[in-house]
Symmetry: C2
Subunit: 297 residues, 2 copies
């Protein structure tokens, strides 16, 4: 008789809550030490309802952790020049340590210009080429994109070492796949990057000790895609027609085969926001020359 | 009866000579147009004999192509401050479009500081975090590291498309493996990065449609590492005890199995210097706002 073990569920919500608690404590300590608190400016252009929800979540997270948050809204008709001028002002505003421009901006605004306008030291999204370049070159004492950072923190929390492991990443975007490739190379994983042009996706997925999927397609990862005992990290959040949320991974069947697995929702998502808070704190510390910069990882 | 075909040899020396010819022509055209020629400053600190040879090769390549080259030498005792001050002067010198600091610098000099001191627009080695970040984010209208660029140019010359192909790179250094990962992701290859911590190197190598090896170990890649018909790019230059040069790949046996193969020496090496010349020309064009910036790739 064989006993079927189900995978350990990696509880992103709980791990994110822990991280937020520790950030809250550090913010309070630094407030006592310096009389100042970290400040995050959220910049929202236009009236996309989903973007409003995301920004509100970020503002609320700030409030809960004692981080000052400033909500800046521009009408959908705002020009690129107006947005860039606003960012320039925030770049030199001492009360603001982090600047988050909610994406996507309106179509008439050049996203690439916006990314490059934010001062690298206030780039809490970790999108600026300078920060990306430093990360890729192995210098992680910079602001790193929140979602990939959240994935690393989940693995660290679960004591899943990546050195020498087969890591397969299904995503090559600038905000998820690429920074995660850099983080994984820096940690001595053997990394494979898959994407829509990859021919043998399943073969690659089945090789993975750690499979990170961010395809954004429900049911994309089945039990057949997963090696026995592998760690499966579901980065995708897919909204079903009925409004409910899921991820790439067929959780029930994959958890009968994987060794550890994140749910979605409730896995990487909460870590992304917690890491945004941590980046804001880190930016504050770097700009004020206080605290331990490297404690983040 | 089966007929055994040997691999097509990719003649890096001939392809590099072609590239140099086209650079020479463009330099001459631009000279007529602007009255100016591209200028490269080579900076050499100390008296390492190998470094002297490399710098001399680069200066000679400039002369042959009509590029102005300025040789700057500092004694091994030069301080980091002196070197950084020199770079600062070259950054604002209009006759100099590209700055190459020959590595390694003496031990008392911080290599990371030197890399960041060179103005990104004069960074013909493509080492600056800003250039690396832009490349990784998919913007290739920047200066890109010469060796990975040379690999791409060899493949392009041979009409070997990488989109959707399995590319396995054995190297994760900042000057070869990482920029090549970026170039390959940008071209829609499925990329795997292997290195000293990789467990199943041979299994990975055997999957490759395009295998790029830069391990620096003679005999590292045998026929058994190579899939029938694969393209094998040998980036390594290994000096044997008798002074002769070779690469990672056992050329004779691998060429009985591969579809195409670069020799070493005579493969990627000559492309690296040709790409340095092309970067100097590109830097000149960008700084003077003349010519076609994108023709390079």
């Amino acid at each position: 008789m064989s006993i079927r073990m189900t995978a350990r569920t990696i509880d992103g919500k709980a791990i994110a809550a822990e991280l937020r608690e520790s950030i809250k404590r550090e913010v309070e300590e630094l407030r006592k030490l310096t009389g100042k608190v970290p400040g995050l400016a959220t910049v929202l252009v236009g009236d996309d309802p989903a973007s409003h929800v995301y920004v509100k979540m970020k503002n609320r997270a700030c409030e809960q952790l004692g981080i000052y948050s400033r909500k800046v809204e521009l009408p959908a008709t705002a020009t690129e020049e107006e947005l860039l001028a606003l960012i320039e002002k925030l770049n030199s505003d001492d009360a603001i340590n982090g600047i988050l421009v909610q994406f996507p901006p309106p179509k008439h605004v050049n996203k690439e210009a916006v990314i490059r306008a934010v001062a690298p030291e206030k780039d809490v999204d970790g999108f600026h080429p300078k920060n990306v370049g430093e990360l890729f070159l192995g210098n992680e004492k910079v602001l790193v994109a929140c979602t990939p950072l959240g994935v690393i923190k989940l693995l660290e929390h679960e004591n899943i070492d990546v050195a020498g492991k087969e890591v397969v990443i299904i995503n090559r975007s600038n905000i998820v796949g690429k920074p995660l490739v850099a983080l994984m190379i820096n940690r001595s994983a053997t990394v494979t990057v898959c994407h829509s042009k990859t021919r043998d996706m399943k073969e690659h997925a089945r090789r993975a000790d750690i499979l990170v999927s961010a395809a954004g397609r429900e049911g994309f990862i089945t039990a057949d895609h997963v090696k026995e005992g592998a760690t499966v990290i579901d980065v995708a959040t897919v909204r079903r027609e009925d409004g409910s949320l899921t991820g790439d991974v067929l959780f029930d069947e994959v958890s009968m085969k994987a060794g550890a697995i994140t749910p979605s929702p409730g896995g990487v998502g909460p870590m992304t926001i917690a890491c945004l808070m941590q980046n804001t704190l880190l930016a504050f510390k770097m700009q004020n020359g206080v605290g331990d910069f490297s404690a983040r990882r």
